[in-house]
């Protein structure tokens, strides 16, 4: 009896870990797929899983419709703005094409200065001084460091953003925009994390300073947002299309593993950081084992609780503290 239940749970676990050939709202504008695929790929004869597939299909259909409606509305409003923008933007609420162009210009200058500043990081660290040197190289007076009031953190978050974008591009190429199925998702995750960490290698000497800046509470919102988007992207391209609580646990788990590996990476002196990649692989395997163990013991949690309670009551009786409270 217990064996059958264990098998049951293994099947459900497989469904969580392995990718399904489902489309998602992100790909809707690219290539909508027929829904028959979903039904053909259902694993168990479980009623629950069949319902889950239907539910997922319905939700994705709704999201696609919503996206199409949003795009149509945007096009309509753009046409209006294009006609009215010629009269000149007056209100501060209406972000006309002028404001967007100005903002784009400022953003381009900021990116240019920070990119030039990255070259000075190995000598100066993630500091305002690096930004000043970068600014002067780009042809701006040193006073423009005032555009980055957060100082070194602006540089760190720019670098992180750049690396994340680079990684996402590479993952997109590998999986053909998320459409191609990934054979070994675990290995895919390991490779993605490894690729991301290898981008940090040129700045390894000052990376502890960067991690300290990321940990500061005033920068927590930006830092957290970047990590979570990165982890979400990696999980998505590895084929995760789950809609249950496992969505959260997987991403948080991956973020934890990434942080641990990053810390190990800082003090790793082996050639090509081979030990770090071993560490990463071990952590990933442990995480999978932990998840399997947790799902297996799901039914036994009650038994554990009751036996713990009885042990506690026995101990209390032995000590003479137990008495009838009724």
């Amino acid at each position: 009896m217990a064996n059958v239940r264990c098998l049951y749970k293994l099947i459900r676990l497989q469904k969580l870990l392995l990718p399904l050939n489902a489309t998602s709202s992100r790909l809707a504008p690219l290539q909508p797929r027929p829904l028959t695929f979903l039904i053909a790929r259902s694993y168990g004869k479980d009623e629950k899983t069949a319902n889950l597939d239907d539910f997922r299909a319905r939700e994705e259909q709704r999201e696609r419709e919503r996206d199409a409606a949003d795009q149509a509305a945007e096009k309509a409003s753009q046409k209006e703005a294009g006609g009215g923008g010629g009269l000149g933007a007056t209100g501060s609420e209406s972000r006309g094409p002028e404001d967007n162009a100005k903002q784009a210009k400022v953003d381009a200058i900021r990116a240019k200065i920070l990119d030039a500043a990255l070259q000075h990081v190995p000598q100066q660290g993630w500091t305002r001084q690096a930004i000043i040197l970068g600014a002067e190289e780009s042809g701006y007076p040193s006073v423009v460091h005032g555009m980055f009031p957060e100082g070194g953190f602006a540089l760190v978050s720019h670098f992180n953003g750049k690396c994340n974008a680079q990684l996402v591009e590479s993952l997109q190429q590998k999986t053909d925009g998320g459409k191609q199925e990934v054979e070994d998702p675990l290995d895919f995750l390991v490779q993605a994390v490894r690729q991301r960490l290898e981008m940090v290698t040129p700045y390894k000497t000052h990376w502890p300073q960067a991690m300290a800046l990321l940990a500061q509470p005033q920068h927590a919102p930006t830092a957290l947002a970047q990590v979570l988007t990165l982890v979400d992207d990696i999980c998505y391209y590895s084929g995760d299309r789950s809609v249950d609580f496992g969505w959260y646990t997987r991403r948080v788990g991956l973020a934890t593993i990434m942080k641990m590996t990053e810390l190990y990476f800082l003090q790793d002196k082996s050639p090509g950081h081979a030990q770090t990649w071993e560490f990463l692989k071990t952590r990933m395997d442990e995480a999978v084992q932990l998840q399997m163990m947790l799902s297996q013991t799901e039914g036994m949690t009650h038994t554990f609780q009751r036996s713990f309670n009885s042990a506690f009551i026995t101990a209390r009786n032995i000590l003479g503290l137990g008495y009838n409270r009724n």
Partner: protein
């Protein structure tokens, strides 16, 4: 009998004409003008505190105010703001973040508070490449500049006594600067812009003399974010400051003008838009002490 009546009528008529012309002139000088309006004359009017004066008069009146207060300016600043103005100016220079090689124009610099902080900040920074910096202190009132120069000598912050930094003292009108285009990398104006007749001209002149990438920074009294605190601040401003001015400096009217001119200055958001209209990018402002003063900053990109 007839002659007395006619003379009485004549004198009445004369008095009537006099009062009419007098009333017209008072209506011109004390009115509810908000900004510039057209009068029967050719010139526009502007605000001088809560009065309305002709634009040509305002400059003269402001000049008189500062001529009278120059000697006790620093003492009165300390008394009015309970010394907090030193913190505001410290934060202001910290936000600017002076670096070696900077060329600063300290407009309405007068007695030199911002300049001395700038020079001290640079002194505390290492200068391995020995890059020269420069600061020009400028004010429309020569008397204020004289006070500043004396202070500089006393503090040891003149060109001769500093290494790698030159200090120049120049009397100039913020609306018509005598400097060539793109000759400074930073422009600061602390507690001076509300005294200018045409703020937009000041902003466009600032844009002109700044190099591409240069920074405009303005420290100015502004409007509080909280209604109750604004009321408290008003009570303090109007009931305490002019009498204090009379006691410490012998000047009631000058300090009456001061607190009134603070109220007439545009609010933070409006001033930010004015700076953007002058051509500056990434304009932002930071309130200090709940909005009693505000630091506006913009870049010429």
């Amino acid at each position: 009998m007839q002659s007395t009546r006619s003379t009485r009528l004549l004198s009445l008529a004369r008095r009537f004409v006099h009062t009419r012309t007098a009333a017209q002139s008072t209506r011109n000088s004390k009115g509810m003008g908000s900004g510039a309006e057209f009068t029967s004359g050719k010139e526009q009017t502007t605000h001088f505190g809560f009065q309305t004066v002709r634009e040509s008069e305002k400059e003269q009146k402001v000049h008189e105010v500062f001529e009278q207060v120059a000697n006790s300016y620093d003492v009165m600043n300390d008394a009015m703001s309970l010394g907090i103005h030193r913190l505001w100016k410290d934060v202001f220079v910290e936000r600017l973040g002076p670096t070696h090689g900077m060329r600063l124009l300290d407009m309405a610099g007068g007695t030199g508070d911002i300049t001395f902080r700038y020079l001290r900040y640079l002194n505390n920074q290492p200068n391995p490449q020995q890059r020269p910096s420069h600061v020009t202190v400028s004010d429309i009132n020569q008397h204020m500049l004289n006070v500043g120069e004396e202070r500089a000598k006393r503090l040891g912050l003149t060109t001769d006594q500093l290494s790698n930094c030159t200090v120049a003292w120049q009397c100039a009108d913020a609306e018509k600067l005598p400097f060539p285009d793109a000759s400074f990398t930073a422009y600061t104006i602390a507690f001076g812009i509300r005294n200018c007749t045409h703020v937009d001209k000041v902003l466009s002149e600032a844009y002109r003399v700044l190099q591409p990438g240069g920074r405009f920074m303005c420290l100015e009294f502004s409007h509080l974010t909280n209604e109750t605190m604004q009321w408290l601040y008003d009570q303090y401003s109007f009931q305490v400051i002019p009498p204090m001015g009379q006691l410490l400096a012998g000047q009631w009217q000058a300090y009456q003008y001061l607190v009134e001119s603070i109220r007439r200055f545009p609010k933070q958001e409006q001033f930010k838009q004015m700076i953007e209209q002058a051509g500056f990018d990434q304009v932002s402002y930071e309130n200090l002490t709940f909005g009693v003063v505000s630091i506006h900053s913009g870049f010429k990109l």
